[in-house]
């Protein structure tokens, strides 16, 4: 009968409309929930700050601990009581959760105290712009120690680390370059370590400088020129010997009689140090020749013979 069919259709329409309304409400609720959840997630894990340098080295803990135990296994008597786990914790405490542009020496003081050890006299070897060569040399000649051959330097050489105010507190994506902020984690650490290394030096100390740099072998802006020379103790250090190395086949931009060395001499003599300088110190030059054997500057008087 027509009225019954009409009401049935009306009912169907109502059900359909109700269904659509419920679906719409459900969709809106879902969207609201989603935005609320992601909003809170973002709050819990905001993006770390962005910098221009490479991020914290992954597995920093394992690497630092491994190097620590490895160094101790070499049997240095003066390091017998060192606790590697404690050392790691003090490094962590120095930078985790902190803004990496606001590092202070106080952050690193516990770490410095836990890792300090005396350096034998006449063995301290400083350097500026000669990283590869000076470390090749100290590796071959165990009478010399660069900062990176000391316990603390060895543990952290070549590694990168910085914190971030947001969780988890370590920035693995990027870290500030030294030029980005005055007090970056890295620069504060290395300057402090360099200061202590200089303070500990005694007897005859050596420094390897690069005579192939156009800007000059000695720069007041380098760590050597701004930190180390001012923390050498004239009462403990009897002489400073400079080795001015030119790259084999490289430009001879500077030498012992050059302007930058005169500047260095003035600064040091004012502090009552005795200074000597040698261009292309022979043993180090021999080391350069290992990697440039065919250069005319590297002709040995005894030539090698080749058998077929």
């Amino acid at each position: 009968m027509p009225s019954q069919r009409g009401s049935a259709r009306r009912r169907q329409r109502c059900v359909l409309l109700a269904g659509i309304a419920i679906l719409l409400i459900a969709l809106v609720l879902a969207a609201v929930l989603a935005s609320v959840l992601t909003g809170s997630k973002e709050e819990a894990n905001p993006e770390p700050l962005r910098w221009q340098g490479r991020g914290t080295t992954r597995n920093l803990r394992e690497i630092v601990l491994g190097r620590c135990y490895s160094y101790l296994a070499e049997g240095h008597a003066e390091l017998r009581d060192k606790d590697c786990l404690k050392i790691w914790e003090s490094l962590k405490a120095a930078f985790v959760h902190k803004n990496p542009c606001n590092a202070t020496t106080e952050d690193y003081r516990p770490l410095m105290e836990l890792t300090s050890h005396p350096v034998p006299c006449n063995e301290s070897l400083f350097w500026s712009r000669t990283y590869d060569l000076v470390h090749l040399y100290s590796k071959c000649n165990h009478h010399f120690l660069t900062l990176e051959d000391t316990f603390l330097g060895y543990m952290l050489d070549g590694l990168s680390w910085c914190g971030d105010p947001s969780a988890p507190g370590i920035n693995y994506e990027s870290c500030p370059k030294w030029s980005e902020c005055e007090r970056s984690s890295g620069s504060v650490f290395w300057k402090m370590a360099s200061k202590m290394f200089a303070e500990a030096a005694c007897g005859v100390v050596h420094v390897m400088l690069n005579g192939s740099i156009e800007a000059g072998a000695f720069r007041t802006s380098s760590v050597f020129g701004s930190v180390e020379i001012f923390n050498l103790n004239p009462d403990k250090v009897s002489e400073i010997r400079i080795w001015l190395m030119n790259d084999i086949g490289g430009p001879q931009s500077d030498s012992c009689s050059g302007y930058s060395i005169k500047k260095l001499r003035n600064i040091l003599e004012e502090r009552n140090f005795k200074i000597t300088c040698e261009d292309n110190y022979r043993p180090v030059q021999l080391l350069q020749c290992v990697h440039n054997p065919d250069h005319p500057d590297c002709n040995l008087c005894i030539s090698s013979t080749e058998a077929p």
């Binding site: 597995n59 690497i63 135990y69 009689s257 043993p283 290992v290 013979t305």
Partner: protein, 316 residues
């Protein structure tokens, strides 16, 4: 007198018992496992893949440690075979760049300096698996999952000890994956000859070189600066090596006192006659910031100035 005899007997037997129990405490004659071995090796593994040679890619360093450890724990420390380390080497394997393999005998420290941490050459100690175990010591115990930190068997006590088993497998693996030009650095001053006919190179490396992947073998025989010239190319043990390799079908060259390595040896003896550079100027004077170069330039300026003054006076 009886009393004193009795006392001496007591004292003597006491000493004997003490010594005996001391010997009993140390099972073997060699040094024990390196303390904190697990931390050191896992640290080295990450150091290698993150810093030393990131080109190697991702490795699971804990898994590597487990595979390494399982090779020798809970077993008779006198019966560890290279095959026990198979899983470890499978997990730690990576490509060795062609032309960069450097084999050696009797000159490990020299090789380490020369290879420059895989930058110049990649010796076994510069691979992940070599870097992992270099200069460390380890051994296990039967019926215990612990490492023995007290003592470990020497090679004389057990030929099949854990450390030698590891290095045998390492040598085989390294040789198998070497390609291109192969280099061999031998010590021409070594007692018994530069090429040990029984040694890692002879017994585990040469037999596992892959002939179809190798273009040439370059042998370098370098004497200690002040050492005797026990061996050299075309003589004694080096001749034996050259013949063996040629018989196996390799193209072989041999060089005495290979120059780059000589320079390294000269570091400790820069004034030795073997170390004189034919182009070197007379030794730079060590003095208050003056070098030969600077001195002669200053002299020239002074002479020119005096000459100028003199001329001016004359003209005037």
């Amino acid at each position: 007198m009886m009393k004193s005899l009795f006392l001496s007997f007591l004292l003597g037997s006491n000493l004997f018992v003490n010594n005996f129990s001391e010997v009993q405490g140390r099972k073997w004659k060699g040094e024990g496992t390196t303390p904190n071995l697990e931390s050191i090796t896992i640290g080295r593994c990450y150091d290698y893949i993150r810093v030393v040679n990131p080109a190697v890619g991702e490795k699971n360093c804990s898994e590597l440690w487990e595979a390494f450890r399982n090779a020798f724990i809970n077993k008779d420390p006198c019966n560890i075979l290279p095959q026990h380390f198979e899983l470890f080497f499978k997990l730690s394997l990576h490509a060795i760049p062609t032309d960069k393999s450097l084999f050696w005998e009797n000159n490990q420290l020299l090789v380490n300096s020369f290879s420059n941490r895989a930058r110049r050459y990649m010796a076994l100690g510069d691979t992940l698996f070599g870097f992992f175990g270099d200069f460390l010591n380890w051994c296990g115990q039967e019926n215990s999952t612990g490492l023995d930190y007290e003592s470990c068997p020497t090679a004389a006590e057990c030929e099949n000890n854990a450390v030698d088993a590891f290095w045998r497998m390492a040598s085989m693996t390294y040789a198998q994956h070497s390609s291109g030009v192969i280099h061999v650095l031998l010590n021409g001053s070594a007692e018994g000859g530069a090429y040990p006919v029984k040694g890692f190179f002879a017994d585990y490396e040469i037999p596992h070189l892959q002939r179809d992947k190798i273009s040439q073998i370059d042998i370098w025989v370098v004497d200690d600066i002040e050492g005797p010239n026990t061996d050299s190319c075309g003589h004694n043990t080096v001749q034996i090596l050259e013949d063996r390799l040629k018989t196996l079908g390799y193209s072989v060259t041999c060089t005495d006192n290979y120059k780059p390595v000589m320079f390294l040896l000269c570091l400790d003896n820069p004034d030795h006659s073997k170390c004189t550079l034919s182009s070197s100027a007379p030794a730079a004077q060590r003095g208050p910031i003056s070098s030969d170069r600077g001195g002669s330039w200053n002299k020239l300026m002074f002479v020119s100035f005096v000459g100028f003054l003199f001329r001016s006076v004359l003209v005037y």
